[in-house]
Structures are given as C-alpha cells and as structure tokens.
C-alpha cells in the first residue's frame, strides 16, 4: 500500500473515530430535553459525558488536521466550497463547549436551564453541519478544474447535504441513547432504552441510504459486503435492545457506523471530492496529497503518537466506567411535595 492510500485510510479512521466518539456526546446532549424530564436527570445525563466530551472533540480537530496535512488539495477545495455550513459547525461547537463548563458556575436554575439548552442546540447544529458537509462532499460538490466552487454561497448545498445531516443526527441520537442506557441507572436508563428501541431502525435509514448511493456510484464487491454488514448490524442492535442487552446493543450500533463509514470511504476511494460539473474535475488523493517525504514524517509521528493516544483515552473510559445514578435534588423534592 502506498503512503497516499495509507493516509486516505488514516483520514477515514479519524473521521469515523470522531463520529463514533463525539457521536454519543452529541446524542446525549440532543436528548436532554427528550429523556431528561427532571433537572436531576439532565445533570445525570451530562455527567455521563462530562469527563470525555473534550477529548472526543479533539478527534474532529485531528481529522481536519490530517486532511490539511496529508491532502491540502482536498482541504482547500472542500472548506471554501462549504463555507457557511462549516461556520455553522464552528458556532455550534463553540457555544456547546463553553456551555459545558460555564453552566455549573451558578446555582440559579434559569442560568443552568439556559446553558443546558445551549448545549442541546449547539450539539444539534454541529452534528447536522458536519453531516451536511460530509454528505455534500461524498456525493459531489460544484467545483471546477482549479478546485474552486462555482455558483455562489449555496451551490454546495442540496439534498445530499440534507441526507448527510439526517444521517449524522440520526446516528448520534440513537448512539447517545444507547450510551445513556449503558452508563446510567434509573428512569433515564429505561427511557433511553425505549427511545433506542423505537428509533434505531428509522435513524439508520439515512446513513444506509447515503452509503448505498456512494456504493451505487463507485462501490466494489468489498464495500457492498460492508454495506450489508451495516444493514445487518441494525437488526442485531434492535434485537439486543429488545433483550435489554445494553452493551451488545451499543456495540451493534457502533458496528452500523463502522461498517457504513468503511463502505462510504471505500466506495469513494481514490476520489476525495467528486465534482458535479464534470467527472474530469474530481479531486483524487494523488492530486491532493503532499510529498512522500512529508507523508513519511507524518507516518512515523502517527505510528508513535496514535497508540499512546488510544491507550490513555481508553484508560479514561475505564476510570469513569461506573454506572451513574441521579441524586434527588431540592427542586425535585419540591415537585414531589407539590
């Protein structure tokens, strides 16, 4: 395998890792108003992702950084073509990050409620924006031979970005619910399980449709098998939730993402930005990549650095592996009394 292919795979792994990890904290945040009926429930939900959301977000930064580092031609075509969705993603991520830390700075319930809503809104916007950007990219952007977008600010957006947004939001919602079912006890766990049971088949549809479309365009036999694995994993997830096997259900849903992402990236290879104007303008890894010297340097750095990162991130999850339960808070006691 040459270095460009290796780095295409590395970029695919990083984006998938980001969706897999930040996916559940996006989902937990988005489900706050749905599954968190009492203040204590919402706090419990936030505590499940408190220690890890920031580390998860670095996967996005590394994924984008790896695209810049290995395929600047991809980076330089992709980001300006989707200028507005990316700005939306940034706005969402900024407000969500500060809200995580700042909401606990006051005991005023209104302050808390406001920032909790900001977390939900910011997470939804960021998840939808990332999905829109990825969807539009894999299904084609209106770029000319110089890699420049033609047609104005909204030319890159269309049904493909809606599909991508629905896929990432849908995946994240169920992923978050399954994570909550795994990490909490009490009513939140039950509600999360019920949510996953009801919505997992629906939420998987846009993701499977997206991977399927790219498969139809440029897939291979291997990616077709991967797509089938993803579809099968939806069924497995659903039956595992039904049997209250939360760990297996979570693993099943993770497989849905892993297999469909592998099918998506595998089908797209070696094109990184297909052009909707003319297939001759497609940006491929060969055109977009840096020199072999730079790729070699980065391969060494990643070969040393990535296992270390994976080890300590895994260890953090181990440290905070306990199931959490909500303590009754004062306002809940007041509600019960009323």
């Amino acid at each position: 395998m040459d270095l460009q292919t290796l780095w295409f795979a590395a970029v695919a792994v990083l984006w998938t890792g980001f969706l897999l990890l930040e996916g559940f904290d996006f989902g937990v945040a988005a489900l706050l108003p749905v599954l968190g009926r009492r203040t204590a429930d919402r706090h419990l939900m936030l505590r499940t992702i408190g220690p890890v959301w920031d580390g998860n977000e670095v996967w996005l930064i590394t994924a984008a950084g790896a695209v810049f580092a290995a395929f600047p031609g991809w980076y330089a075509t992709w980001l300006p073509a989707l200028y507005l969705p990316f700005v939306l993603v940034l706005l969402g991520l900024i407000v969500r990050a500060v809200a995580f830390e700042w909401r606990h700075s006051s005991h005023d319930p209104r302050w808390d409620a406001t920032w909790t809503r900001v977390i939900t809104g910011g997470s939804l916007v960021a998840a939808a924006g990332v999905g829109a950007a990825l969807g539009a990219t894999t299904l084609g952007l209106p770029v000319d031979g110089d890699g420049t977008r033609v047609g104005g600010a909204f030319a890159g957006l269309g049904w493909s970005s809606l599909l991508g947004a629905a896929a990432v939001v849908g995946f994240s919602l169920v992923h978050g619910a399954l994570f909550l079912a795994l990490k909490t006890d009490g009513p939140v766990r039950l509600r999360a399980r019920a949510f996953a049971l009801r919505w997992s088949p629906v939420a998987a549809l846009p993701l499977l449709a997206w991977a399927g479309l790219v498969q139809l365009r440029s897939g291979t036999a291997v990616t077709a098998v991967l797509w089938l694995v993803a579809a099968l994993a939806v069924v497995v997830t659903w039956t595992r939730v039904r049997l209250d096997r939360e760990g297996q259900a979570f693993a099943g849903w993770a497989t849905v993402l892993l297999a469909s992402a592998a099918a998506l990236f595998g089908s797209a290879f070696p094109v990184v930005v297909p052009s909707t104007i003319d297939p001759a303008f497609d940006v491929t890894i060969a055109q977009a990549s840096v020199s072999d010297y730079t790729l070699t340097v980065m391969t060494w750095v990643a070969a040393v650095g990535l296992p270390v990162v994976l080890a300590y991130q895994a260890w953090t999850y181990w440290v905070f592996r306990r199931r959490l339960t909500a303590e009754p808070s004062h306002d809940d006691a007041a509600q019960v009394a009323a």
Binding site: V58, G65, F68, A76, L84, V98, V309
Partner: protein, 521 residues
C-alpha cells in the same frame, strides 16, 4: 472592502481574541500545577484551597480558549485556501501533529483532572494535571513553529510548480525563529498568570483587612501565598521576556528588517542608528518623511547588532531594495484579483507596527512594576493598605494581556505584504515566498466572509461578557466551602494503586460526585 480585506480582519480579530485566552491558560496552568504539587508534597490546606480556587479560574478561561481555537484551524481552509494549497507540504503537518501529540493530551487529562478528585490516587491525579499542562505547552510549540515557518521558511526547496517542498523536517522544528518566539511566548504567559495572582491576591488581602478578619488563618495564607508566588513569577518572567525578546529582535533584524525598521519609524539607513522613544507626525500616512521622533543615539544599533555603531537599514531604503528583488508591482495574474498589476507597498502600516511594539514593551514593564510593588508591600508579613496600590494592581491585571495581543499584532502585521516571508539566508532565485493578496480563497463571496466575521464577532463579544462576569464573580467570591475539604471522601481503602477500584459503588460516592461537581461542572 473586498474579500481579502474582510478575510484579513476576520483572521485578525479571531486570532487576537483566541490569544487572550492562550497565555492565561498556559501560564495559569503551570502555576496551578505547581500549587497542586505543593499540596501533594506538603499537605498544607492553603495549597489545596489555592489549587481549587485558581483551578476554577483556569477552567473558566481554558474552555473559551479551546472553543475559539477550533476556529483557528478551520479558517486556513475556509478563507485562505490558496495559502493552504501553497504551504500544504509543511504547514498542515504541524497543525496535525499539534492535535495528535498535544491537544489530545491536554483535553483528555484535563477531563481526568476535573472529574478525578477523589476517584484516582492522589499522585496520579496530580500527574493528570501536569500532563494537561505539558499538552498546552507542546501545543504552543507546534503552533509557533508553524507560524515561524511563515515568518522564516526553512527546510524546504522550491518544487516544480513553485510551491515549497519539505526536505528537512528537523530544520522546520528547530527553526531559530520558532525557538525564540516560543520561549518569548511561554515566559510572557507566566507574566500574565503572575499579574492575575498579584492583582486578585492583593485585592482579597485588603478586603480581609478592611473587614478586620484575622490575618493568621488559612484563607489569609491563600491570598498572601498567591501574591508572593505571582510576584516572584511575574518579575522573574519579565526578565526572561526581555532576554528572549532581545534574541527575537536580533533575529528579526536579520530575517525581516522592514518589520523592525518600521517598528522604529527609522526612515533612512543610519550608522549609528538611534532608538525612537516617541514619534509624532503623520505616522498614519505611511510616508516615512512626515515622521519625527525623540531618539536615543546608537541604541538601535546596539539592539540590532550588539554594538553602538553598525548601520541599521531604514524603511525607505529597504522599500527600494525589496521592490527591486520582488517586483514593484503585483504580477498581472488573475490569482491576484483586483491587485494584479498594482504597486506593492513593502512597508507595513507604520502606525500599527510603531505603536504596537511600544505598547507591548510598555505594558510588560507595567506588570514588572506592579510585581515589584506587590513583593515590597507584602514583605515580612505586611499587608498593603494603599487603595491606589491595590486597585492599581487589580487594574494592571489587564496590562500583560495587552502586551501579548500587541506583540502578536506587531509580528503579524509587520510581515505584510507577505504571508510567507522570503528567507534572506537563501539565494534569491531559490526563495519561497507568497503574497497575502494571493492567499485568499478564490471562490468565496464577500457576503460569506462578512457572515462569519459578524456572527463570530457577535458571539465572541457575548462570550467575553459572560467570561468576565464569571471571572469577576469568582474573584469576588474568593475561596468557597468546596475548596476547604481536604480531599473528597471517596478515596477508599479498597483502591489499588494502579488506579482501578472495585466495582461496587460505595455509600460515599455520591457525595464525592457532588464535590467534583462543585469544582467544575
């Protein structure tokens, strides 16, 4: 304004804003880690309270730094795609390495530190904080190495398509421009943190005195130690800021002479060259001849070359020299947009370079003065009562922030009109350089860049208000009851040293969560 101008404003505003958080994060991170270490080693309650109070201040600020740092990575691609294409072989890899080697470390272990109180062994918990702090320092190194490569591109040759091709990664990492800028930035970060400790500590000490609270209890020790630690760190760091600044300045005279000459508004080449103390006249017109200044003879020669007589080239002579080498007009190429064929002004905006350079030095000196005052006024158990001294010190917390911001404005504005500055150590024909006018994304519309400039600007403004409100409230609140618990109760005997514990939740655990939550979440 055209796309280029709006994009430059957008980059400038978001970068300077981000850089208000960064020095405090780095400097305060180091100091909180020192406090935490002192507590683990000595077990004295004042160190625990200091760790928790300053730790909260650190976290409130940290998160805004992280959030605004996201924008930094993406805007290279968003508004500066041609820049990204041009420098791709070098620049992107430094950002990717920052994320992989530093940013993961910082975020993961900070989460562990925040939620790890009482849940992991004490020393491991301390190590988590140090890991996060090391992460933020390494992160600064990669970013500064990337920036320094734009200022002084090394380790590359010109490829067939005119773009730089990396040939020596170690040269990029050990760029002398990067080493000087990094050491300068890190010690400047310590000045920021020191000034905060001094200002807040003096304010709290005086408040206790006015309220006739005892001066011998643990809270008093918290604020006294904060002032002393902050004062020493700030003063020592200021000396290092001067040393590293001098090093950086000498490099700039070799590498970017126009930046330094315009910082001095030195029009003609002079030997010996005088140092300008104060300038007046039409600095804003960028016409060097309309500028007059009070000067110290020979000092500029000394600063640039370590002797009092060597010639320092002036702005007008350099402008002529650059026009000859790099062209008097932008090439007639569509990639230069409206600027194609127009005259190139190699002189940076004089008013900006001249005054930002002076503000940087002046505000740094203010911090040193305040630190000296704080150490003097708290010597041998004394408590300062001077209203002016104490409130002045509190106000002076802002001075090193201004110094840091103006330092970056000077560095970045001073290299215009280049985004990648030609390296004078390389023969002219083999130099890598790139004009800012070429760097902007070709396909984007002014409306798009306006949208991001306005939305990010408004959001940043609102977040600044909330952050200041939170910090002021934290500072006024002082040490709270949450800080006084020696250690959260959940450290049970069943815990093994490898960090694992048994799977049965113990009765005390919920309370431990409460305590963690009162700390950060």
């Amino acid at each position: 304004m055209d796309v280029l101008d709006i994009a430059r404003w957008q980059f400038g505003i978001t970068t300077v804003y981000h850089f208000l958080m960064v020095p405090l994060t780095i400097g305060l991170g180091i100091l909180v880690a020192v406090m935490h270490t002192m507590w683990v080693r000595s077990g004295k309650p004042e160190w625990l309270r200091m760790t928790r109070f300053w730790g909260r201040v650190y976290l409130v600020n940290f998160v805004l730094g992280v959030a605004t740092g996201l924008v930094q990575e993406f805007q290279f691609g968003l508004a500066w795609s041609e820049y990204s294409r041009f420098v791709g072989d070098v620049f992107g890899s430094l950002l990717a390495m920052e994320a992989l080697l530093a940013f993961f470390l910082e975020s993961t272990f900070l989460g562990l530190w925040i939620f790890g109180w009482g849940r992991i062994p004490k020393k491991l918990h301390l190590a988590a904080l140090w890991a996060a702090v090391v992460g933020s320092i390494v992160s600064a190194y990669f970013i500064i190495a990337a920036n320094s490569w734009m200022q002084h591109p090394v380790g590359v040759t010109v490829g067939d398509d005119g773009r730089p091709l990396q040939v020596d990664f170690l040269a990029v990492l050990t760029n002398n421009t990067a080493l000087a800028a990094f050491s300068h930035a890190i010690v400047a970060a310590l000045v920021v943190a020191g000034a905060l400790l001094v200002g807040v500590g003096l304010y709290q000490l005086r408040r206790r005195t006015l309220a006739q609270r005892p001066t011998t209890d643990v809270d008093s020790a918290v604020w006294r130690r904060s002032v002393r630690l902050g004062g020493f760190v700030s003063l020592a760091a200021f000396v290092l800021v001067a040393v590293t600044g001098d090093w950086q300045g000498k490099l700039m005279y070799q590498q970017q002479p126009l930046k330094m000459s315009s910082a001095e508004a030195l029009c003609e080449t002079e030997a010996p060259a005088p140092f300008s103390v104060f300038a007046w006249g039409k600095l804003g017109s960028n016409e060097c001849d309309d500028v007059h200044s009070y000067t110290v003879p020979g000092l500029l020669s000394f600063l640039a070359h370590s002797d009092f007589s060597t010639a320092v080239p002036g702005v007008d002579d350099l402008q002529e020299e650059y026009s000859e080498v790099y062209g008097a007009t932008y090439p007639d190429d569509p990639s230069f947009g409206d600027r194609a064929g127009q005259a190139i002004d190699y002189t940076p905006v004089l008013a900006v370079t001249y005054w930002s350079f002076r503000l940087m030095i002046g505000m740094g000196a203010v911090s040193a003065g305040v630190a000296a005052y704080a150490l003097w006024s708290t010597r041998r158990g004394r408590v300062p009562t001077s209203r002016i001294g104490v409130y002045g010190s509190l106000l002076a917390v802002g001075a090193p922030f201004v110094a840091n911001a103006t330092g970056w404005i000077f560095t970045e504005m001073g290299r215009q009109p280049f985004v990648v500055y030609p390296n004078p150590d390389v023969p002219v024909g083999e130099q890598v350089y790139y004009f800012t006018a070429q760097a902007v994304s070709p396909g984007i519309t002014a409306a798009e860049v306006w949208t991001s400039l306005v939305s990010l600007g408004l959001l940043y403004g609102a977040l600044a208000v909330v952050e200041l409100f939170l910090l002021v409230r934290l500072v006024r609140g002082g040490v709270t009851t949450g800080d006084t618990t020696p250690t959260p109760p959940a450290v049970g005997g069943s815990r093994r040293d490898d960090g694992s514990d048994d799977d049965d939740p113990r009765p005390g655990d919920d309370r431990s969560d409460d305590d963690v939550l009162s700390f950060a979440y």
